[in-house]
């Protein structure tokens, strides 16, 4: 490496979208439709669609298209529109760094370059929680894999990860994989969930477990891993109120594979690197009602912002983020993050956005802390109720959305969201 180093190629772009999954696609399309003629989408994989490409089951697009589409079908609708608008995508390209003044360094087989963007949309999606984060004692054999990785291997690589399966965690991907592996001839013994309720959607419990006689054990967790080379079995036990295992209930479940479906974590390494203020609960950036982060001109959406239950909402939210990014790049809305804080209160795990301008209508997304029936989500400014929505059923697995009108926000300095 003694030869002289060449200067790094630099280009200037208006809106750069990081990620070509459902969020990135919707954001790029909306940015273009809002009049931005210079939109660039960067995707590290060789094709657009993101995680949807491995989601060959149906159920996508019920809200947007009133149809039960497969993941690739849902993606293809957006990709068709993306192509129709002639938006540029750099595939097989990864963003290695991002600064708060919107300078990106990207790497691809075609070369390494620097991009200076007027606006950036963060749409990197999320990753699965791995075994380390849940700290299961015991051996360290092969055969322990996250549900999404197993889905990728089965659906895209034609690789069968195991034959005799136990699943820890009732996240949606785990439920989908319980059905998928059963259909491919594996024996799925059970799903074990440490919480007193499932963390997956009720429709997936019915269609993926109940319909195939796969039992779901609530208040139960894996306490030990056994296996010298390959996994030989796991010990499971019921847990008490404090979620610690009850030794008398421990039993051994022989299996060659343990799928982990224990949660998703927004992918935000770039966001942190840019010094953007994060939300400790969502693990995503803190945004205002324009989906702008603490770094002016950097917007966030999709599962990189907070983990969604339905892709339809990802698309809706990302489209708004993309539109706002286009406005910012055009210099129309060039201010910093707006100031009225919105705080989650009693019964609300998180709400989003974390601050609003008060000058526009907005939609609040939130998740509750526990399952409830017949409760109202109430948004208040001091004592004054600015929005209220009744729900017959509220579940931590499901995201809730509530519209707030600007006419109710006059004079307010902070908002609180509670369950009543």
């Amino acid at each position: 490496m003694n030869e002289k180093t060449s200067a790094i190629r630099t280009e200037r772009r208006d809106v750069v979208v990081i990620g070509g999954g459902p969020a990135g696609l919707a954001a790029a399309i909306a940015a273009r439709e809002a009049g931005c003629r210079d939109v660039l989408l960067i995707e590290r994989d060789r094709l657009l669609g993101g995680i949807l490409n491995q989601c060959i089951h149906d159920g996508f697009g019920l809200l947007t298209f009133k149809e039960a589409l497969s993941g690739p079908e849902y993606a293809s609708r957006f990709i068709a529109r993306f192509d129709e608008l002639g938006i540029e995508a750099k595939l097989g390209t990864i963003v290695l760094s991002l600064s708060s003044d919107r300078i990106l360094e990207v790497s691809a087989m075609g070369g390494y370059e620097r991009i200076e963007a007027k606006a950036v949309v963060l749409a990197m999606g999320c990753r699965e929680r791995a075994r380390g984060a849940i700290s299961i004692p015991g051996d360290r054999p092969s055969g322990i894999i996250t549900a999404g990785a197993a889905q990728n291997l089965m659906n895209l690589e034609n690789i069968m990860v195991g034959k005799n399966i136990a699943i820890l965690g009732s996240g949606d991907i785990g439920l989908i994989m319980a059905r998928r592996m059963t259909l491919e001839g594996a024996h799925v013994q059970a799903v074990f969930e440490i919480l007193p309720y499932s963390s997956g959607l009720p429709r997936n419990i019915q269609q993926c477990l109940n319909d195939y006689d796969i039992p779901l054990f609530l208040n139960t967790t894996v306490t030990e891993i056994r296996g010298a080379g390959r996994l030989e079995g796991v010990k499971v036990a019921q847990v008490g109120q404090d979620r610690s295992p009850i030794p008398e209930t421990e039993r051994y479940v022989p299996c060659d594979t343990l799928l982990l479906s224990v949660g998703l974590i927004p992918e935000n390494e770039l966001t942190r690197e840019a010094g953007i203020v994060m939300d400790a609960v969502t693990s995503g950036a803190r945004v205002d009602d324009a989906f702008m982060t603490s770094a002016p001109g950097i917007f966030a959406c999709g599962n990189a912002l907070h983990v969604h239950d339905l892709v339809d909402w990802v698309s809706v939210e990302a489209a708004e983020a993309g539109r706002r990014a286009a406005l910012f790049a055009a210099g129309e809305k060039n201010e910093s993050q707006r100031g009225i804080p919105v705080k989650p209160g009693e019964g609300v795990r998180y709400s989003l956005p974390q601050s609003v301008s008060g000058e526009e209508d907005f939609t609040l997304s939130l998740r509750v802390t526990a399952p409830w029936r017949n409760r109202a989500v109430v948004v208040r400014s001091g004592e004054k109720i600015v929005a209220r929505k009744m729900a017959r059923r509220l579940h931590p697995a499901e995201m809730m959305r509530i519209d707030v009108e600007k006419k109710n926000l006059v004079g307010c300095t902070s908002l609180g969201v509670t369950l009543e």
Partner: protein
């Protein structure tokens, strides 16, 4: 379930022809000590081989430790541990430079928390000086805090030669350089019998039915060293495996520690106490615990120790979040002292008078990593008594490649590398930002080791926060394309650890994207 992936791994080691092999020196055990000896002997015209029961070098204790180079003040003057540690530490700069191994001379603070500890530090300072440890200083609180802000205590022993290095890169670097210079490596060969040949020398049989003959045997079998010398009729020793468990923390916390910070050691403790250790790759380790076991191959992690580690870690570094724990692992110390005695015994490094040509190494626990190059010199002198050592004129001490990963290079160098080789432009491991070329280099390693752990120890793929969720499918595809691997050929580390069980449905040629 039957796993039969082993055959994939046999051919690369048979490149030297058919068994039985005859060597001048046969080293049993491909840990850092065995590899250092092989590399040292490769400076000479002597036929040397390493036999290793695992599918790669370093899979035992050598890759399962803190990656710390010790200064040498913890050991009684006059012992092998004291002498070899100080000498080995001094040899490391040149060795790491030649072998392209990351090393950082960050220094260590051994901190006193009470009066007893302070007395201990004074004793350690005197002991270290007697051992020839360079630059030892007793320093006060203010000076301690300029080295590591926030550290509590009024007195510390500062040892500037305490360092961190990559134990994987060192072990692999030694092995690959030895191989380049003519040493043979027989991986996946578990020694099951050792007998003195009729004339001179030794005959060694392995579990796969192969046999090797050699003039000199070097027993560097670590946790299995007592068993191995027992096969040769040396019944004097026992090894007590003592497990140390660790947590690996996310790189988010990189930069938190400027130096190694250890509590003052307690009498008769089998280890140096639970502490935080930064790694050269940017993670922090919590550990190690110390728990005696019966099974030297038990690399499990136990609920109560994991809880202890989390609690200790939280005390030492309150900023740790649940998502920062990315993995737990354990390694076993090859101790000669039983639990009833505790503490440590000295290394045994002996040229057996009663067994002509049997060089025996036992109890090489900490500071074995630090001592390894000095142990190799000592063993070379012993070998010289049995075999003529003429210099190898083609010996090249330098290993190809770079100590740094692509992700650690300045942007301009990255741009240049991609321009020359587009495979540097494709990222396979997203968390650690490891490129396709680095994966290709790892799987085409000269030792022919192709397990996931082999790739992980060479290229860091799957060592990041997602623990392989993203890169394993991609690595599987690369292995299929490069070697025609079937899914069941892809091993985690051992011969019976397949990651996958087969295809979902029959694979069609060219059906993949």
């Amino acid at each position: 379930m039957e796993y039969n992936a082993y055959s994939q791994y046999v051919s690369p080691w048979k490149r030297w022809g058919d068994v039985p092999f005859h060597y001048d020196v046969l080293i049993i055990g491909g840990g850092v000590v065995g590899c250092a000896i092989a590399r040292e002997l490769s400076r000479f015209q002597v036929k040397t081989a390493v036999v290793e029961k695992e599918l790669d070098v370093g899979f035992g204790t050598s890759c399962r430790n803190s990656g710390v180079l010790h200064a040498g003040f913890n050991y009684t003057p006059g012992t092998l541990r004291a002498y070899l540690c100080v000498k080995g530490n001094a040899l490391m700069d040149e060795l790491c430079r030649d072998l392209k191994v990351k090393i950082r001379r960050i220094g260590k603070l051994t901190v006193a928390l009470d009066k007893d500890d302070e007395a201990t530090l004074h004793r350690l300072k005197a002991q270290g000086d007697a051992n020839g440890v360079p630059g030892l200083e007793l320093i006060g609180g203010a000076r301690m805090r300029t080295i590591q802000p926030g550290v509590e205590g009024a007195l510390a022993l500062y040892s500037p030669s305490s360092s961190i290095l990559s134990p994987y890169a060192l072990t692999i670097g030694l092995a690959e350089n030895a191989l380049d210079n003519g040493a043979h490596f027989h991986l996946g060969q578990e020694v099951v019998s050792i007998a003195q040949s009729a004339g001179s020398g030794w005959r060694v049989g392995t579990a796969s039915g192969d046999s090797f003959t050699a003039e000199v045997i070097v027993n560097a079998a670590g946790l299995y060293a007592a068993e191995v010398c027992g096969m040769a009729g040396i019944m004097d020793y026992h090894i007590y495996p003592c497990r140390g468990e660790y947590y690996v923390l996310d790189k988010r916390l990189n930069g938190t520690l400027n130096a190694l910070i250890y509590p003052a050691p307690k009498k008769n403790s089998p280890g140096l106490g639970i502490h935080l250790t930064p790694t050269v790759d940017g993670n922090i380790l919590i550990g190690p615990s110390a728990q005696y076991l019966d099974d030297p191959a038990d690399y499990g992690c136990s609920a109560c120790v994991m809880e202890d580690l989390r609690r200790e870690g939280q005390n030492l570094l309150p900023d740790i979040r649940v998502t920062d724990y990315i993995r737990s692992f354990s390694g076993n110390r090859a101790k000669r002292t039983p639990p009833s005695v505790g503490g440590n015994a000295d290394f045994v490094i002996e040229d057996r008078r009663d067994k002509e040509g049997f060089i025996n190494l036992l109890g090489i626990e900490s500071p074995g990593l630090t001592s390894s190059p000095a142990i190799a010199l000592m063993v070379r002198e012993m070998v010289e008594k049995h075999v003529v050592l003429r210099p190898n004129p083609s010996f090249n001490p330098l290993r190809q490649g770079s100590a740094l990963f692509f992700s650690e290079l300045p942007s301009e160098e990255k741009a240049d590398l991609i321009a020359k080789n587009p495979n540097y432009g494709e990222i396979v491991c997203r968390c650690e930002k490891i490129t396709k070329q680095e994966i290709l280099d790892a799987i085409h390693n000269p030792l022919g080791a192709r397990t996931l752990a082999s790739i992980k120890y060479r290229a860091r793929a799957s060592m990041g926060r997602c623990q392989g969720g993203f890169c394993i499918p991609r690595i599987a595809r690369i292995l299929r394309d490069e070697f025609g691997f079937r899914p069941e050929d892809f091993l985690k580390s051992g011969a019976s650890s397949p990651l996958f069980v087969g295809n979902v449905r029959p694979a069609e040629a060219g059906a993949h994207r």
